[in-house]
């Protein structure tokens, strides 16, 4: 098979202005998505108690709500967890009960809400009619720290990439690569806000993975640009960049398609956090591939221009 025919020559760089504008709009919208509809913070970041219960028989969510709402635990949410594809259990058996951390009652703590809910449920439904599958409690202090460390992780990752790429290539390349992955991370986050799935620690892991994969693709193109310059191919920097993107296009598409296949399978068959992770990754892979082809290398050209390098000259300076 050969999806991308040899000799393909699409002018990716020439259209850069349109793609820059499109990406800027997407970034702007993603930033706005943190205000509206706003991120759906899970307990990892918001703090609170989350209990997952499985009933032996299908149970009405209203009945459970009746029990939990009268405990005076502050804001509670009950969610009916739909069984994922090919999952054994039937509908209306798994529920997620989430209790917000009541403001000012720091000491109420984990034993309090968790114990109270399981006691009251067994009073109402009988002790053997349900099982507590998981209990998660994150105190307000920890939640805040996790948020900070998540943002730090993303910043450190980008700094690390900046340094490595600057060392292996040049500063313009490093900046192009980092801005491209920043673009990927923020747009993926915006997408995640729009679909309103829950932010958890695994989502931070997902964003870092998106960054890792996207920069991987970008490096492959940079490498080809360097090789083409070294081998003294004809053309100015703009032409060489475009040529390099085209030459590696097949690889970019194929690799991402293969990883995409893996992610899609996880999206369909995974459950819980794995599914959230895979949904984010599916989108992130697409954005990552886009930025690799349309944004990263074009940015290099822009930065080289800004730094006063003669990008129009034949035979650019060797890297």
């Amino acid at each position: 098979m050969e999806w991308i025919k040899p000799g393909t020559n699409i002018d990716f760089v020439g259209q850069r202005l349109y793609f820059f504008i499109g990406s800027l709009i997407a970034i702007g919208l993603s930033v706005l998505s943190f205000l509206w509809p706003g991120p759906n913070w899970g307990i990892d970041f918001a703090g609170g108690t989350e209990i997952r219960v499985r009933f032996a028989k299908p149970t009405d969510i209203g009945q459970i709500r009746g029990v939990v709402d009268n405990l005076g635990l502050g804001e509670t949410q009950i969610q009916n967890l739909k069984p994922a594809l090919a999952e054994q259990q039937k509908e209306n058996q798994d529920f997620l009960i989430r209790v917000e951390e009541p403001a000012g009652e720091e000491d109420a703590g984990t034993a309090h809400a968790g114990k109270l809910i399981s006691e009251k449920l067994s009073e109402k439904f009988g002790k053997d009619s349900f099982q507590i599958l998981t209990v998660n409690y994150v105190g307000p202090k920890v939640g805040k720290e996790l948020r900070v460390s998540g943002v730090k992780a993303l910043i450190y990752a980008m700094l690390g990439i900046l340094v490595y790429v600057a060392f292996r290539f040049e500063f313009s390349y490093a900046l192009g690569a980092v801005l491209a992955v920043f673009h990927d991370a923020i747009i993926s986050a915006g997408f995640y806000n729009v679909v309103q799935r829950e932010w958890s620690l695994v989502i931070i892991a997902g964003l870092l993975t998106i960054i890792g994969y996207s920069v991987n693709d970008t490096i492959v193109i940079f490498d080809r640009i360097r090789e083409n310059i070294r081998r003294g191919r004809r053309g100015n920097l703009r032409q060489l960049i475009n040529q390099s993107i085209n030459e590696t296009l097949s690889r970019t598409i194929l690799t991402n398609f293969a990883t995409f296949l893996a992610i899609i399978a996880l999206t369909i068959f995974g459950s819980g956090v794995i599914r959230d992770f895979s949904i984010l990754m599916t989108f992130g892979m697409v954005v990552g591939t886009y930025s690799t082809i349309y944004i990263a290398s074009s940015l290099v050209l822009v930065f080289e221009d800004l730094r006063g390098r003669k990008t129009g000259a034949e035979r650019p300076k060797k890297l």
Partner: protein
Amino acid sequence: MPSNLRWKLILISALTAAAVFLCVPSLMWDYQNNVSRMPDWWRQVKILPIRAVVLGLDLQGGMHLVVGVDTEEAVKNDLTQMKDSIHDWLRSEKVAVEEIKLNPDNQIEIAYPDLANKDKGREKVQRYYGMVLHEASSSSTLKMIYDLDAKQANEYRSNAVRQVMETLTSRIDEFGVAEPSIQKQGANRIVLQLPGIKEEDRSRVLNIIQRTAKLEFMLVDNVASTKEALLAASGGVAPLGKRLVPEINDQTGQITAWYLLREEPKISGTYLVDARMQSGGRMDMGGYDVSFQFNLEGARIFSRITGEHIGQNLAIVLEDKVKSAPVIKDRIFDRGVIEGRFTPEEASDLAIVLRAGALPVSIKVEEERTVGPTLGKDLIARGQLGAFISIAAVVVFMVLYYSAGGLIADLAVFLNVLFIFAALASLRATLSLPGIAGIALTVGMAVDANVIIFERMREEMRAGKAIRSAVDTGYQRSLWTILDANITTLIAAAILFQVGTGPVRGFAVTLTIGLVSSVFTSIVFTKTIYELLHFLYKGKLEKLRIGMKPIGSN
């Protein structure tokens, strides 16, 4: 066969065999009961591996707790002690002191009646206590204010954390948890990983961990049903050297009485050597009691106090609540009973915490993640299914796109997965649910290197190169591309490992291992296979199929 190729084959076979060996214990591990099913003869041969891949608590089921230690309380406690000790010492040195107190800023304030006493006291305090004079105290005032040395304060804090850790470790041991892990995190946190805790034990464990288990025996001065009645004589506040303590009904949680207790003489639970639950002594009450035993020193103090105060009431105060206050009928030496109409679990848990000792400061559970065993099993099954299907999808795609070449890449993928499991087992790394997703993703990375190589080979072949040289150039030119690409991804994985905890860290581990081993399998392994094929076809490997039409045949 060229010796170069022979050595590569030997290296690869040896690594593969080692990886298979390392994986055997995991295949033979009984994850239900967490025991190895390896035969005895295997275990007797010491060099054979017996470590299995450790499942994270999210898959295995168990409790993950992050406990915050109130280190400021520790500083305060130690300062109070220091203040008392300074006071005693100045008194014994005949230095007159008007007032000595600990202010809310953790400073010790000493007020002297005159300058002569101040100079004397100041010299003594300076020399024997590592206190730092606060700048506010000038030479003309009679009041001296001392700050605690920052280094000293940090020592108090870390001591408190260490003591809490020791106490929690022995409590968990006494409760009986298989392979718990208790570690310090940051300056004032302790992480407890307790695998295999059953649902019904969850709240007991939380209880055992969080209670201070402070036990005191104090003489009763007065009892009343309300606070006000008790304090009427002393003007609404507890008189000096006395403490107000409530008695609480365990069933209803109501305060049943207030006790005014004497601070001195007092004996605390630190002298306990043993505590056991026993069935209730009093017939009418039912339930269980906890009996205890003092060590020699404790027995000496206890018998002196009880001997001197026969006929008075001695209150047993547990965690600042009066449990009971029986009349001392006779001198008691080293044994006693805490009566409380406990359930068997309550009595056994109380015995555990008393044996393990009191916590020096209060602690708080700041994070809890408990996974029941049922969900873990579900998740493993679904995680395996998802990972299996995603790997299968990639493998099939590679063969469809690159035909025979894809097959070789797929072999590399299998080898990669094998290496990941072998590395997980031998490094004692933890496999978490996100970790399983990480393995599936690594497969994407593993084929990536081969895609880079194949695409390069196709280019070279289109340029008219012979297969052998196309393969060589393909590998040669792709090497640094692959390394650069993987190193940048490794940077992200390493940061994830640093920042993440629990399952997320498990993901970072599998991703990192997978990246490293994929570089090996996709470069060294597949190259060797090509060389082997080349050798087997005696240099006539003309039709290597990497899924494109042979050049010039259309």
